[in-house]
Amino acid sequence: MLNRRDFIQLALATLAVTGSVEGFRRALADESLTQDQLLAFKPKGQVTLIHVTDIHAQLVPIYFREPDVNLGVGPMKGLPPHLTGEDFLKHYGIRRGTPDAYALTYLDFAELAKKYGKVGGMDRVATIVKAIRAERGDDRCLVLDGGDTWQGSYTSLQTQAQDMVDVMNALGTSAMTAHWEFTFGAERVQELIEQLKFPWLAGNVIDAQWEEPVFKAWEMFERGGVKVAVIGQAFPYTPVANPRHMIPGWSFGIREKMVQKHVNDAREAGAELVVLLSHNGYDVDRKLASRVKGIDVVLVGHTHDATPQVERVGKTILVSSGCSGKFVSRLDVEVKDGRMAGFTYKLIPVFSDVITPDADMRKLITEIRKPHEKVLNEVLGTTETPLYRRGNLAGTFDTLITTALMEERDAEIALSPGFRWGPSLIPGQQIRAEDVYSQTAITYPEVYRTEMTGKRLKEILEDVCDNLYNPDPYYQQGGDMVRTGGILFDIHPYEKMGNRIQNLRLKRTGEPIEASKNYVVTGWASVNPGVEGPPVWELVMNWIRKQKTISIPEQRDVRLVT
């Protein structure tokens, strides 16, 4: 969100260049976009990789605000994707106020959203995929889905991901890997895999008891006369970050040695191009690429980073394609002498008003949504301020959730998971039931209410903070910081675990949280079995209905100290 000071600085800077406030407005209005411009690409080499990831079941266009805080620690400090706002624009040479700036940063979000409109929609994604295929020829293209595709909407929850399986089959996907998919439970996952018209690849998942592979690790494709191996790497910490009891027989992990073995096996089988279709998260993949030899391309998922250029790690390149259907990556690769010799890359932002929807996919999406329209479209209220989730520390939509939970469950403190998915709303927009589900649609939505000591609360905050800011990415889990209501604290990301959370106070009184004292805490998305309570969306919807008009200022409860 553009704060007042930023806005004045921008306005002054613009005035200095153009000499008028009108000039500033015109500078924005000058940008007109066409589908041809968005798809313009100089083809290269024999193979085209089309990458989508972390769609989180978003079938129709949405708004999505990029993070304002995305801090890198240890060796990743200051490196992409840990750049936000002006630093991001500067690094990639993007002008503020342009469509790219709107797509890639949080700057001027509300203003630019009104100007450039919504993003994503699987019918638009289908148009892009079809256009690339038509231009390059089907026999040169692979459509690779990095996972977190099946979960994140009302319709996916109601259909137990049937909607997304149908959509991804219709898209002509070539292979996928997974993370949130597993939260539908082992049995449903197996059932849906049967329906896929393409391989489900997860080379790092093994039987928890016998340590045998559960799924196929990699698939060999022939494209443009080149043998391309695609290795799937599921999210390594699925049984830690999500309920283990839903997939009790499966063990995950980064399993670097196993990744190396898959690469070696693929090379021995004649692969000339080796692609890791990964749900590791950006920093984990950056480290992995420096330690596993023989990977040409890592298609990064999980951390939702939209990076308009690839990063190089040795001979490997990293491609990261954002989330929620907001971007499609196109990577053309030239293969010579059994490995990647050159490439061209474009992160294509899916501007919903610019890309013509694909008729077939639109029909399928309409059919999927039709039985649910009444529920989806219930208007609960209106927001006066932007509602969003992304950012390491806080999001206004999460503040809405924690506030609602505290009031609806009469608790003094609320905790809400630091999920990176969930679209945004802009000022003046109606809040519909669908919008609430798109922040909360999980298979373990129970809202608990419990008493917790101050010591335990501090431990939880430190634990989650270490999952975000451990200097070794192999110890990170890739989510943002747990969202809180009712407490104030400082975060010292560069400190060690145990010292990152400081100055922890109860917001209501300003008094320090006492280690031995009990506090009434509410929250949702517990990974433990047998949690009881109403589903989170029910409480949040009730609360919004009562408020009618929502105004959530940017949260100041958590202070970042760097």
Partner: protein, 156 residues
């Protein structure tokens, strides 16, 4: 892996994968006191007789983050030719922040063929785990790794 024969000297239950035969089960001779200590350095000194073990030769494989602290997989392999003249005599596992830091010990002979074990251990909290190898020439080597035991949740 059928050729792997491991002499085991611990009461604890453990898993040896691939059905390796357990050759012997005897009591650890280093005494009960060291086993019950909460001080990993003290236990290490007890094992080595005060000598500082060299880092290396011992490969300790554990997950970076435990999926279930109650049963964390451990694999230890020691780089040794395992001949009559030069072999790894034993491997001791130490969980530096468990209520009792001594976990278990494995004894090998040249007939073991490989100094390799796989088991599962319980871990109370995030901590460093040590694997200490005693070689037939009286030298000690150590491998270390950190395993995070987390409350979980909130990922994604």
């Amino acid at each position: 892996m059928n050729e792997v024969r491991i002499k085991v000297i611990d009461r604890r239950e453990f898993l040896v994968t691939s059905g390796a035969a357990i050759a012997a089960l005897t009591a650890l001779t280093s005494g009960a006191l060291a086993r019950e200590t909460k001080d990993p350095t003290k236990l290490l000194q007890e094992i080595t007789g005060g000598a500082a073990p060299t880092e290396g030769k011992v490969k300790l494989e554990m997950p970076e983050i435990a999926e279930n602290g109650a049963t964390v997989p451990v694999k230890v392999s020691v780089d040794s030719p395992m001949t009559d003249k030069d072999y790894c005599e034993s491997v001791t596992l130490i969980a530096t922040k468990n209520p009792s830091v001594y976990v278990c010990a494995f004894k090998f002979t040249p007939d073991s063929g490989k100094a390799w074990v796989s088991t599962r251990i319980r871990m109370a909290q995030t901590q460093e785990v040590w694997a200490v190898a005693k070689m037939s020439d009286g030298k000690f080597y150590i491998g270390k790794t950190t395993v995070k035991v987390t409350i979980g949740g909130c990922g994604g």
